[in-house]
Symmetry: C2
Subunit: 361 residues, 2 copies
């Protein structure tokens, strides 16, 4: 950046609220964190106009796995969960949520994440605070084995309060065309496996904040007995679980027999809004409601609203963050593989004729 | 989405400010526009968890052009130019800006855009207004020949005013590794060709709004004589020019001799902030200041601030939206190719030893 001087009466860009030098300072702070997510397929281009990622690095290895590669791409944000981060002034985990929201969507189709980009818009560009946010993003990238290939930080004083910000994330992955998981082979008798969530994840915060912080009047530092020692803020800020490694391990292990028929990331809309999206017409899942423990944060919200149990299910994940629909003969061994990968997971239901609404029993 | 009923005392997600059904209505409105950007490489997955793009469609054709494909990815927003769209309540062109900001960055490295995703966050999800925004995005995608592969619309009532929104965009392209344009072959004597901008594009709005709307007190409907008939609002909302087709035509035409050494998209930071980024150390460009006409909007801002001429150059594109550094023997024919493609373009300077600051004369 060329340094310039201006006459004292004249107005400058910095006086108008945008600080280009702070942007440069931030770039220096985040550089080592970003580079720690890189692999030999990332081409060194820091400061260039685009991030570059070699598709054919180790050409034979790539070609062996991908004869007809299909790129998969997702975008998402963190929503009003960010307000909890503002209230607690804890910025280093919402980046994990940001990555989780996109990469968990990506693996639903069977895609392996390759790289991620972030958009961060704020009222005032404070390099140290921005670097904390990027730290969470790089943590999420390392958990899902994808490179943080680029990002944009926008200082928009008239849009956001000085200490507030919004985040958007974009993930690109690759899947062999013949191995796309699209739900089409699902049939009656298939088993639904639910993977445990770590609480609210990144959806339903409009309702959760309204009930807990406004109607019930909790402060983020309050520790209601139901939460067993966690504060309201800790519980509401807990990062979204990233399922990438556990899911890709299962797909890799069973890549010949392909018992995984369909997968759904349980986000806004809950099980009723997300599971039917991946089922063929005429099929539904009969969900066994007591098959898994509902985390206490959900019972607390339901009671403090009160929020009707049907509405609760339509808004929140209720303890199941990801669902795999699998062939019945493989259900037990897939469950065991998930457990070995450190996931809590349960058989939560069975595919039946009917739908599109889920059946509950 | 499963329909549900709730008891009358209980609170619902919609009462808490988030309307899932409006999201579904929006998806129906934008579906035909989005599909018009698609090509046979886009796999039909509307409503799925990820957008899917076949890399090897027409396998032989792709392999013929790409033996060692490198993916390029960019992200950007529109910044506070959005405020002008709010003031004028004209929403159907900021999407062109959004696409332009990313795809113009993408072609700087020589990459051909493949697909685009958008993130749209707003205070209140009004399906008709959101569809207008998406119309602009699809216009931009068609101008740059890329598919709108996915997007996220977030309703965040506590972040944005009901009629306001923020936008982020994400573009992915591909370039043959041996044909990446990275500036490394630039040498003294090379020629800088400037491509005309269409005014402010999407940068410097913090300063432009402060000077024109606050200090000078213009309304967006005012038509100062300098602007030759355009209103302040029309001039400030004019979409960012998309250079993709013109640039790719030049690269394709000269793909054997490769006279294009470096390219820069002139955004925030102006020529001094963007051109040095693509030059090897020890080289600079001697810019001939009177080589192109500065559009009247810039003179108006400089006079009404007043804004120092050095600061003007550091913030605004001053009429040059994109620069190509080319071998001197090819400068005239490349210029002619750009003119045939409908671009106004001029020789604006020459590469010299020195730098990193640009030299002006």
């Amino acid at each position: 950046m060329a340094k310039t001087t201006t006459s004292s009466q004249a107005i400058t860009y910095k006086q108008a609220g945008v600080d280009i030098d702070a942007g440069d300072a931030m770039v220096q702070l985040i550089k080592p964190m970003v580079q720690a997510t890189h692999n030999p397929r990332v081409m060194d281009n820091f400061g260039g106009f685009a991030g570059l990622f070699r598709l054919d690095f180790g050409e034979k290895l790539f070609r062996k796995q991908y004869r007809d590669p299909v790129l998969a791409a997702c975008t998402d944000g963190v929503g009003t969960k960010l307000k909890i981060a503002f209230l607690m002034d804890k910025l280093d985990t919402v980046g994990i949520d940001l990555v989780a929201m996109s990469v968990n969507d990506l693996v639903c189709g069977g895609a392996e994440p390759l790289f991620f980009l972030d958009y961060l818009a704020t009222g005032k560009l404070d390099p140290r605070r921005m670097a904390e946010i990027v730290k969470g993003i790089t943590d999420g990238c390392r958990q899902s084995n994808c490179a943080l290939l680029g990002g944009e930080t926008a200082e928009m004083p008239s849009f956001y309060k000085p200490k507030e910000f919004d985040l958007a994330g974009f993930a690109v992955g690759v899947v062999e065309r013949a191995r796309i998981v699209d739900g089409s082979t699902t049939e009656p008798g298939d088993i639904a496996i639910g993977l445990a969530s770590d609480g609210l994840h990144s959806n339903g915060y409009g309702l959760a904040r309204r009930v807990l912080l406004e109607m019930a009047g909790y402060k983020v530092t309050d520790c209601p007995a139901e939460l067993g020692g966690s504060s309201i803020g800790e519980e509401m800020l807990r990062p979204t679980r990233i399922y990438v490694k556990a899911v890709l391990d299962v797909l890799q292990k069973y890549k010949v027999k392909r018992p995984v028929k369909a997968m759904a990331h349980i986000t806004g809309g809950g099980l009723p809004g997300n599971l039917p999206r991946v089922l063929p017409e005429g099929l539904t899942v009969r969900v066994k409601e007591d098959a898994w423990p509902v985390p206490p944060i959900f019972s607390l919200i339901a009671r403090k609203g009160p929020v009707d149990s049907i509405e609760m299910k339509r808004v929140f994940n209720m303890g199941v963050g990801y669902v795999m629909i699998v062939a019945p003969n493989f259900a037990r061994s897939i469950l065991a593989s998930l457990h070995r990968d450190g996931q809590r997971a349960w058989i939560i239901g069975k595919v039946k004729k009917g739908g599109p609404e889920l059946q509950w029993h």
